[in-house]
Symmetry: C2
Subunit: 210 residues, 2 copies
DNA sequence: TTAACTACCTGACATTTGTCACTTTCTCCA
DNA sequence: TGGAGAAAGTGACAAATGTCAGGTAGTTAA
């Protein structure tokens, strides 16, 4: 449908990781329209996606973050560890500074939001293939603004509290006293400027810290 | 890519409603592959989608539920009210019995989940166009199992509590005494078999009751 | 090798949350 | 027309939550 750009010498080989089958297939269809891009592998969860990248050695790997078994960020980190040559584009619903930061730490070349226009995806693939970075502009500025103030324990406890577990259960899960659990929650609540554990969990989630 | 089925006499005209641009474009690309299906309109929020259906009078309208301005369910209900001839397919991430029930009440002909295989979408469009219903099998059985046990007040209160507001604030918002608010929450907690307000809100959300 | 800093951990106390028994208001229908 | 039933509304009591003041390791920098 689109003309092959002059710069393209050969087909850009792409693997896609995305847990929603409908979206996975649709994205593949979208990219296959382009003459210079070919989808050579797919994964419907983190592990499948990782394996597909290792098998196919694509030029570009496009992945969602929230997937079963292994998140897209974990896959990216693993690929970095293994010195994979595939450039990684994170494609997600969530405009969270914490996610972007972790993506960049994991060596990703791109961070795009699913509510961008569909036409921009192919262009992003080409840019990233050329060695450029493609970051959603809105997030790029915000990214370095705020660091996660939570300690590991606070994060753990807050995650469980956000699921509706009460202090006693959390304490049992983590082998702590109930008082300690309440203390961590109190810390987290105060650090995040929340009024209670529920709001604290909500805020942390929004920022991508959980 | 796929051959035109023998039953197709003319092109099936489709409008898509979906707020994530990337997914919207990708779904359109997926359907345009089929010889007997043509995407004649798009909406990136409920109002746009409704307008597109009214303007284009398509055979089939595929829509997400959670969209700005107007949910897909509200659009479906409005189309029913206006006696639109477009058949409606709900395409969503959420396998919630409450959503399915509301979709059917709003006269939808299909309810599909985004994690189905992409190939099934075109087939669903054809079936629905022929006047058949297409419901995700997993949900179909579960759908009528459980009715929403919450009263209006309980729902209101639970929604606010789920956002982390405390009883006093909720009481002020709704002009109730704090005791009353706590009573509604207690009722909701017991009806849903939860241990506290957070878990209750989570359960209700999962079922599509909030 | 201290001092300062940080994360981790705890129990005692005050506040908020959850439960229960009860009253009021409204609708439905025999 | 006079219950029966369901939802809305309330306050008193018990249980869970949030705060505070403090104590123990481990690390870093003078």
């Amino acid at each position: 449908m689109n003309p092959t750009p002059k710069t393209a010498r050969r087909t850009i080989r792409v693997v896609i990781g995305e847990d929603q089958g409908m979206v996975l297939g649709a994205l593949a269809a979208l990219l296959e329209i382009e003459n210079d891009i070919s989808v050579v592998g797919r994964g419907r969860n983190g592990k499948e996606a990782l394996q597909a990248v290792l098998d196919q050695k694509p030029d570009v790997f496009i992945t969602d973050i929230e997937m079963p078994h292994m998140s897209g960020l974990e896959v990216a980190a693993e690929l970095k560890r293994r010195r994979s040559s595939a450039r990684v584009i994170i494609l997600t619903t969530f405009a969270r500074a914490g996610y972007l930061r972790r993506a960049l730490d994991a060596g990703a070349s791109g961070y795009l939001l699913k509510d961008m226009r569909a036409e921009q995806l192919a262009e992003a693939v080409r840019r990233v293939h050329q060695g450029l970075r493609v970051i959603d502009p809105e997030l790029a500025t915000e990214a370095w603004s705020e660091a996660d103030p939570l300690t590991d324990r606070e994060r753990q406890v807050l995650r469980l509290a956000g699921d509706g577990k009460q202090s006693g259960e959390i304490a049992a899960d983590l082998n702590l006293s109930e008082g300690t659990v309440r203390n961590y929650l109190s810390e987290a609540i105060s650090k995040l400027g929340a009024a209670n554990r529920i709001e604290a969990a909500r805020i942390a989630r929004t920022k991508g810290w959980l």
